[in-house]
Amino acid sequence: MGYFAESFAELYNADGWIDMGMYIGAGSSMPGWYTVIASVMLVAILVKGNNDEQDHYK
């Protein structure tokens, strides 16, 4: 769950920064899980939003 590198020195070499994701969970399956969770939240929000809206129209 933590940041993927201990030191920025290992991410930088004579040619500059290496080409890779530099965020929490990079190089692991976490970005995919974040995407799944976000997608489920969005669908749930739409369902709740629609239920609330239909209640208003009753």
Binding site: M20, G21, P31, G49, Y57
Partner: protein, 469 residues
């Protein structure tokens, strides 16, 4: 002597490296700044739409517009960006990576750079070696949100919020994306097979969004009180025309940003050339060309609309129509040519809107006409005047593909279908689920009083036809 040459060589390498860093940072900043400029389009559409709404519904219109913006951007991140890179060659040739002319599309290519999971996630988040993916994604996400904002205004005062959000997601993260993949990508089959050219997205953003709105309007129906029993139309005025007109001017400001984002800067790994800006097709383009042509088109549209209407609403709509009418060929038109085309667009705008209304379509802000009809007009007009111009840059073998009237007409038909058909189908499904049209009793009472826990105007301004207090 040898030492001096070595020292100079090292210094030259350092200077070239510094110049490249400057170029890279400039390119990143350039595209980044188009994003807030394009947010002004949404500020404009928000004002435009709320101004055209009656007092009793004004906040509901604002909520609808804001949610379309938000959901479109989020879903464009989740899957819309992937469609753009995956579909350029579909269904004409293989979906395999490398099947396209420039080999920058296909399922494998899209999955390698445009999915927010797996290995491609490194290009969908912070990456210190990647100064391009985020700003390109951001610009495209704002293009996507623009399509939703365009359609949103046509539907005010009777469409349900969540039903509309579902439609907006289909438009912003799928329908226009397919149009962009086919006609706004160097691998796109409309480009490589037909020479389709649409620099400023008159067809693939404006026409698609405009006719998507028309598809929804067919299922949605008019506002209560719009049409009489004999079919004649009543004018339903918005509550704040100055707000609407100011909103339209903000949209124009944002369009300068939208159009500058359509230029591919030079000197980067993803550039077409080392020393020359281009269109997305790799054909020559400069910001100076935009400065001439966008300013003139906006002015021509205002003047053209003024001739027959004398109405500031239609004059500002004409301003937008003027730009849209020349957007496809902003890279190849001469300034005076732009004046002629945009004047005509401004003149035909209101008659086209009146004709649509005579068919029983209640387009509350004229979006179908301004964006749909004028968008297609712009696409076809380029075919009339631009036939024979090379359709791809110098990287393509000479004579490979050229702009033609035939190609532009084919593109116009495709853009119409990519707008209208998905708009009709998704809104029909939403309608069948009971999530499209707001009940008439609620329309009469006023949407804000029913479902918004806030008041637009605390001094209790209400519409004459509202029973809300």
């Amino acid at each position: 002597m040898e030492d001096q040459i070595l020292a100079l060589t090292a210094e030259l390498a350092a200077v070239k490296s510094a110049a490249q860093v400057t170029n890279t940072m400039f390119a990143e900043a350039y595209y980044y700044l188009t994003i807030p400029l394009m947010v002004l389009i949404h500020a404009g559409f928000l004002l435009y739409e709320m101004g055209q709404t009656r007092v009793k519904n004004v906040l509901s219109s604002g909520i609808k517009n804001l949610l379309a913006f938000a959901f479109t951007i989020v879903t464009f991140y989740l899957f819309g960006w992937w469609f753009y890179w995956a579909l350029p060659t579909f269904p004409v040739t293989s979906l395999a990576a490398g099947a396209g002319y420039m080999e920058i599309s296909g399922l494998a290519y899209a999955s390698a750079i445009a999915l927010p999971w797996g290995d491609s996630a490194q290009y969908m988040g912070p990456n210190m070696a990647d100064h391009a993916s985020g700003v390109f994604w951001g610009a495209f996400a704002l293009f996507a949100a623009t399509t939703a904002s365009i359609a949103s205004g046509a539907l005010i005062e009777r469409i349900q919020t969540v039903g509309w959000v579902i439609c907006a997601i289909v438009l912003g993260s799928f329908a226009w994306v397919v149009a962009a993949a086919w006609g706004w990508h160097a691998d796109g089959w409309l480009v490589t097979q037909f020479g389709f050219h649409d620099f400023g997205a008159a067809g693939l953003v404006h026409a698609v969004a405009g006719f998507f709105a028309l598809g929804i309007l067919v299922n949605l129906g008019p506002r209560v009180g719009k049409f009489n029993a004999d079919g004649t139309a009543n004018k339903i005025s918005g509550h704040n025309l100055p707000l609407t007109i100011t909103g339209l001017m903000l949209i124009i400001v944002g369009f300068f940003g939208f159009l500058m984002a359509c230029i591919i800067l030079p000197g980067e790994g993803w550039s077409w050339y080392a020393d020359q800006g281009t269109t997305i097709y790799g054909t020559p383009m400069t910001l100076s060309a935009l400065a001439f042509n966008v300013a003139l088109a906006a002015s021509g549209g205002i003047i053209g609309a003024w001739v027959f209407t004398k109405d500031p609403f239609w004059m500002m709509s004409g301003c937008l129509a003027g730009i849209i009418s020349v957007a496809s060929g902003l890279d190849v038109y001469f300034g005076s040519h732009v004046i002629i085309i945009s004047l005509v667009a401004g003149m035909i705008l209101k008659p086209c809107a009146d004709w649509l209304e005579s068919l029983g379509i209640d387009d509350a802000v004229g979006a179908v006409t301004v964006h749909g009809t004028i968008g297609l007009f712009g696409v076809v007009v380029l075919g009339v005047f631009g036939s024979g111009i090379p359709g791809l840059g110098a990287f393509a073998p000479e004579g490979t593909v050229a702009i033609s009237l035939y190609g532009q007409i084919v593109g116009a038909v495709v853009m119409f279908l990519l707008g209208f058909v998905p708009g009709y189908v998704v809104s029909w499904l939403v309608h069948k689920a009971g999530m499209l049209r707001i009940p008439e009793s609620v329309q009469i009472k006023g949407l804000d009083a029913v479902k918004v826990p806030a008041q637009a105007y605390p001094e209790s301004m209400v519409s004459d036809d509202s029973d809300s207090k």
